[in-house]
Symmetry: D2
Subunit: 229 residues, 4 copies
């Protein structure tokens, strides 16, 4: 899995702070903007988060190139509707040599790994035989497995990212989208630490688990997640 | 493929007409509502469509149970973001005996059909062997093909449906989602003919193709599509 | 302020329960639907809420006619973007005899009340003089006050309503939109008590305040709010 | 009215071209990105527009500081739901010396202008008397007129902007939001001419009016609008 931050709103923290401040300040936007020193940004954004005022976080967006993920993941990912996606099309691109994502539980078990590889090989052969018979790519792809790798460009604003992290960084989330969520979190934390320092599941953002009886019992700690890159 | 209209806003045409009329009328909503005879609804909704005023169409929604469609279709379907979806989960449901959608081009070619069935059979065996080895369902599903049948409940408002039909009823749309779009159109036309009589690709809604050089050259005719059920 | 539930998805609780159950059940939707007795609906919807699974709540919508509210309220209301609105237009409707919303603090103070009424009267005269001078309604309305009454038809799904109630039913919300939120809550609780019995600010839905140092100190109690109509 | 482009996605045309190309290209995103010379971007984006493929336009956003506009405008503006807004609050900011937007029809007529100014003056006095009587700002504001100036920060993606321009740049749109739409169009055209050269009402984007019998008869010409700044 590769996650590359392709582009993002410049000076994201200043944009969020300015947008938020504008609601309560008599000054003009330009004045608010120029008055926001990094120190003041930090103080102000901290307050926003503590009051649960996240609408100004919508003004900054982050665009990622995501590769080496499965179609199982992408089907789940695009359910996050407050975001934009452009995805590699199996209708138009020949998948004669598709790559796959192997689940860790499969990779860890020699018998399962061999079986998995064998079936993938047969799917590959079947796909190629169908296209050789003249079946259009868009129909041959009906054989392709969820494991098939795909590639996307995704743009999400900071507020929607916070929601995404709250669901998908949790240890109870499905492993592949959880890995993606953490990779994305690392990227955005690098460029906008003030916006994302409390981002994550409830153990990080609220200081206590929200999963009730389903809790994993292993809360993340902010000092761990914000320094590991 | 089965499409069942599970539920919808009662009196959808009266709701749309009332919402639209309220913007321009000094009367109270209740009075507008009770004053809308079917004849007046017809005249008024016709005007809305001719002026391109579709926002009142958002007030009515239609909920469908959709079954016997592929995961290829569902991945494409859920990209329509102004809608709500609940989908059968491959993480939680055992797919030991999954059914598949066979593309017509495959079904029509004996060699392709046989090859397709053979590979599906091997995937089925592989999935079952993995779960027998103790691999969790959520990981064994990485073998499952796009052809695997799924089931969804989808709710979409009439404005979003008009957009969906404009893209997916077109002869140039992918065959499976096009079949779904037409089945849905038939269902909603039955219960709200005034809202949907011009619904469809540009050949139906605008009277001329919007595909330029890619045109199929076979425009739909309103008299055909609105009577075929 | 008048709030009338104009229309809603029939059998809203059954729709939500069916949509949610479909994700985890091998049965067909029709079978899930018919198997949901009221008792089972109650048990199942209770579980959804306790796990924080609210996406199935999107499948049911409620349409309201709202009248006698101010333009101050409507400007705030339409910021809730996951909803549909049709609003009385000040561009097209003559406001020669507009009515106003009087804030309780003004109504309670004789001097303020008199001053308020006097200014409103002058605005009314000014509006009429402008239109008499040939100024178009859409420009004369620039004089109209925030207090001016408006009328809307609004459609919101149950998930978006839960969010709306969490913000606007709170004692710290602005008084007019809070009154609206409670009136709406009463209406939807009548027709879908299972969906809305915990709806409201954090004191109701979570059992504890989320406002931190800004808490009002007067938590709502479920037994009060769910029986008062 | 002041419109300042506060921030935007860097290299917006390259982002759109890369996202669109990724759907149909076997290469990795990074390779697609680096391969897009300005000439190729121009050719490729031209094709997207001609095919009506606008979803890649969602990946780039533009953030504006908007000042000196009326609350009549802002109430209309925020109805565009695929956008983010932060607006100066009349609940929290003292409007003891509010400024107003004067409609051109009023400004052009001495009697109307005088009447308008007189009423605004009385509203101002009334607002100040109410606050002097101890009425909270959030209630005194019920007197404030639609003409009252406000300030917003707005973020909108390029696809949503195209839709906004199609409705609001039209000569039949209300004059104030039309002025705003053109000012915004000029700003984005400066930094992303390939994305916006056909942006505007149907006379610009489609080459023919979509208003039917309501046509203004004065179509905009691309060579005029794209050079006037």
């Amino acid at each position: 899995m590769e996650v590359k931050l392709l582009s993002h709103t410049p000076e994201p923290e200043r944009v969020v702070a300015t947008a938020a401040r504008l609601c309560y300040a008599p000054q003009a936007a330009a004045e608010v903007w120029s008055g926001f020193t990094p120190d003041k940004q930090q103080e102000f954004i901290g307050k926003l988060a503590s009051y649960g005022l996240f609408s100004p976080f919508e003004h900054v967006v982050f665009t990622f190139a995501i590769a080496g993920v499965s179609r199982a993941l992408s089907h789940q990912l695009v359910r996050h509707r407050i975001a934009s996606y452009s995805q590699r099309s199996q209708r138009y691109i020949n998948e004669a040599a598709f790559a796959v994502v192997v689940p860790p539980t499969v990779a860890a078990d020699p018998a399962a790994r061999e079986e998995f590889a064998r079936i993938i090989g047969q799917i590959q052969d079947g796909y190629n035989r169908l296209t050789a018979l003249g079946i259009p790519k868009e129909d041959a792809r009906y054989l392709l497995p969820n494991a098939c790798q795909t590639q996307l460009i995704m743009t999400m604003n900071a507020r929607s990212l916070l929601h995404f992290f709250s669901l998908r960084c949790c240890r109870r989330a499905q492993w592949e989208i959880r890995e993606l969520a953490w990779k994305i979190r690392r990227e955005v934390f690098k460029v906008a630490p003030l916006l994302f320092r409390e981002a994550g599941p409830a153990c990080l953002s609220q200081g206590k688990c929200s999963e009730g009886a389903m809790t994993c019992g292993q809360p993340y700690k902010r000092e761990d997640v914000n320094t590991e890159h």
